[in-house]
Assembly symmetry: C2
Homo-oligomer: 414 residues x 2
Amino acid sequence: MSQPRPHVVIVGAGFGGLSAAKELAHAPVDVTIIDRQNHHLFQPLLYQVATAALTPAEIAVPIREVLRRQSNARVVMDRVSDVDHAACEVICDSGQRMAYDTLILATGARHSYFGNDAWAEHAPGLKTLDDAFRLREKILTAFEQAEILAETDPQAARAYQSFVVIGAGPTGVEMAGAIAELASSLMRDFRRIDPKDNRVILLEGGPRVLPSFTKSLSMRAAQDLRDLGVEVRLNTMVTGIEGDHVMAGDDRINARTCVWAAGVQASRAGDWLDLGSGHVTVDETLRPEGFDNVYVIGDTARFAPGDTPLPGIAPVAKQMGQFVGQRIAAHANGTAPPTQFRYHDAGALATIGRNRAVADIFGLKVKGFIGWLLWGAAHVYFLIGFKNRLFVVLHWLWSYITWRRGVRLIMHRE
Amino acid sequence: MSQPRPHVVIVGAGFGGLSAAKELAHAPVDVTIIDRQNHHLFQPLLYQVATAALTPAEIAVPIREVLRRQSNARVVMDRVSDVDHAACEVICDSGQRMAYDTLILATGARHSYFGNDAWAEHAPGLKTLDDAFRLREKILTAFEQAEILAETDPQAARAYQSFVVIGAGPTGVEMAGAIAELASSLMRDFRRIDPKDNRVILLEGGPRVLPSFTKSLSMRAAQDLRDLGVEVRLNTMVTGIEGDHVMAGDDRINARTCVWAAGVQASRAGDWLDLGSGHVTVDETLRPEGFDNVYVIGDTARFAPGDTPLPGIAPVAKQMGQFVGQRIAAHANGTAPPTQFRYHDAGALATIGRNRAVADIFGLKVKGFIGWLLWGAAHVYFLIGFKNRLFVVLHWLWSYITWRRGVRLIMHRE
C-alpha cells in the first residue's frame, strides 16, 4: 500500500493560486484548489467588459478547464469562511472542512473606500465579472435615460451623460479612456442626445496620473486622456458620493455614474490566521512568521524585499505562485527547495483608448501606437487558453475596423 | 413649411416589430420603436445560451445598431404600461406619453403555467437573455454542488445531477438534448461525480414529441433524444413542482433543476386595448375589430385564416411585420395597400444535439446529419447582423471540433 500523499490546499484561483497549482502538476502531492467562482479571471482586461468591448467569456476560463489534464488537481467551488490552523483545516461556507498538509492563501484584494463604505453603493469598483457586468449595464442604461430626457429635462440628461472615475492608477486611466471612447462611438446610434454634453472626469488625489510610471510617461498619458476629451483633475480629494453627484473638494459634479478605482485592501486571509486584517507580511519564503506550512501570495501578501513592498499586480502574483509551487514540489520530492523569492520586474503597461498606450518595459519607454501594439500583444499573450486568445484577437480586430461595440447588451434583472 | 409626417409607434422590437420598422425605412413617416430591452433577441437560439454553447452577445444585437442608418426611426428603451386609445397615446413606465397616428403592437408572449403560478419560481421558462443567463448559472452550479456532495451525500448529489424539462415542443426538445450533451461534455472536468447518475427527463402531456411535426419526424426525434440518454415520458401530466423535486402524475422525480417549455400566453396588449387578456384576434389586415389605426402582430395576435390559428413562431411574426409595414407605407405614399395577409410557410426545424435534427421544409422531410446542417444554415442565415453570423459560425465550429464549452461562467450575484 502506498503512503497517502501530502495534501496541498490552495484558496483562490487567480494568477497566484493557479500558477502554484500548475507548478505542482508533476509533484507527488494531491492538490485541491478552492474558489468561490468557477472561473479564473483575467482582471487586467475587466474594464473592457465593463465598457462593452469584450464579452465575459473572452476574459474568463473555467478553472476546471484549465486543470482538466492535471490529474493530481481537484477543483472545489465554495467560499472559504475561516482556517482552523490548530487542526490544519479550511472551513467552507457549505459546511465542509478540508484538511491540509500545506496551505496556500491566494485570495487577492477587494476595494477599499478608506472608511467611507457608504460610497460603495454609488461608486462600484471592478474586481469580478459581476462588477463589470453591472457597470456595463449602468453605463449603457445611462445613455438610454439621457436619450429619453434630452428634450424634456436637459439638465437631468446631462447628469446621465457624465461619468466620474476616481483614482488614476492603471485601472482608472484605462477605464476613463474606454468610457470616453464608448461614449463617442455610441453617439451615431442616438438621435436626441447632444454629444457635446458627454463628460468623463478623472479625479486623482495625487499630483499625476499613473504614479507608478516614470514622470514623462505620466505626462504623456495625461495628454492622451485629454486628447480623448477626458477632464483630468489632479490633487483633488473626493469628499462625498451620492447617486446623482460627486463632491470633488467643494465642487459638485452632477453625474449619475461613478467608478471607484482608488484603492484596494487585502482579502480577509489575515483574519483567518489571526494576524489581523489587511496585508499579511511574509518572509522571503512567502510564509508569515510562525507558520511552517502556510504560504500567503499575491495581492494578499506584503513582501518588502527592499524598503518598498511589491505592487499588487498579476506578474508578482504569478511569480509568487511559481516559487511556492517549486518549494512544495521540492519538499515532496526530497530535493532542495528554493529559499528566497526574487521578483523579476518586466515593466508596466497602460493603455488609453485606441492607438494609445504607455509602456515602461525592460527599461524601455514606449508610447503612442507602438506602445498600444505592445500592450495588446502582452495582454493577449498572457490570456490563459488558446481559444480566448483567438477570440479576443478576432473581436479586437473587428472592433478596431468597424468601431462597433458588439456586446452592448442590457440584461435586466426583474 | 412641410406638413408633419404621420407618426408610427411600434411597441416591441422582436421579429415582428423590427421587420415592420425596416419595411418603413423609405416611407414618408416617422417611426418610434419602444422596447423594454435595448436589444433584439434571436430567441430560437436562446437555449444555446442557457446551455453554455453561445454567449449572449452572439444572439442579440442592440436595436439602435440595427436601425442606425434608418434616419426616420427612433429607438426608445422604456416599458409600455398602457395605451390611451381615445387620445391615441402610448403610456410608458417612465411617465412619458407618446402620441401615435398608427400603432403596431408586437409585444410577443410570456410563459403560462396554466394557473400554477407558484411553479414559476422552480421551473423558469426561457424568453429573455436574463432567463437564459440564470438558467445557465443554475445548471452549472448544480454540477458544482453535485461534485461537493458526491462522496458525503450521494442521494443529494443525484438530485443536482437530474434535470427535468417540461413540454416537448421545439424548445423543450432542443433544451433536453442540449442539457444531455452539456452534462456529458462536462464530465471529463469533474473528479467525483458519477456520470451514470446524470439524468435528463423530458415530460410531455401529449402522445408524442414535436406535435407540430409529422408523425415520422416525431418518432425520429424521440429516438434521437433517447440515443442521447434523455428519458422521454409521454402522456405525462405534471402535478407539482418544488425546489428539489417534480411530481409527474404520482411519480416523484428528485431533481434540483427544472425548465418550463410547456406553454405561453399572449402579452398584455389585449388589456391595453380593453379587449381582455390573452391573444388579440385580428382580421386579414391584422387589425382587431373596431380599431382603424392599431395593428397587432406576432405572438400576441390570433389570426386564423382557415380553421387553425397561425403558430407563434418567428417567420409568422416577421411576415406579419412586413405586411403591416407595406400597408402603412402605401397609405403614406397614397398608393393601394395590400388588403389580405397570407402566410408563406417554409416549414419547421428542430435540432437534437450535435449532428441530429429533424426538418420539414418546403414539403421535404430531412433528418440526421443533413437535417442538422440545414438547421444550422437556416439559423445562421436569419441572425441579424453580419458580425453575429461570423462569430456564431466560428464559435460553433470551435465547439464542434473541440467539444468545449467556452462560456461556462457562473457570475454570482452577491
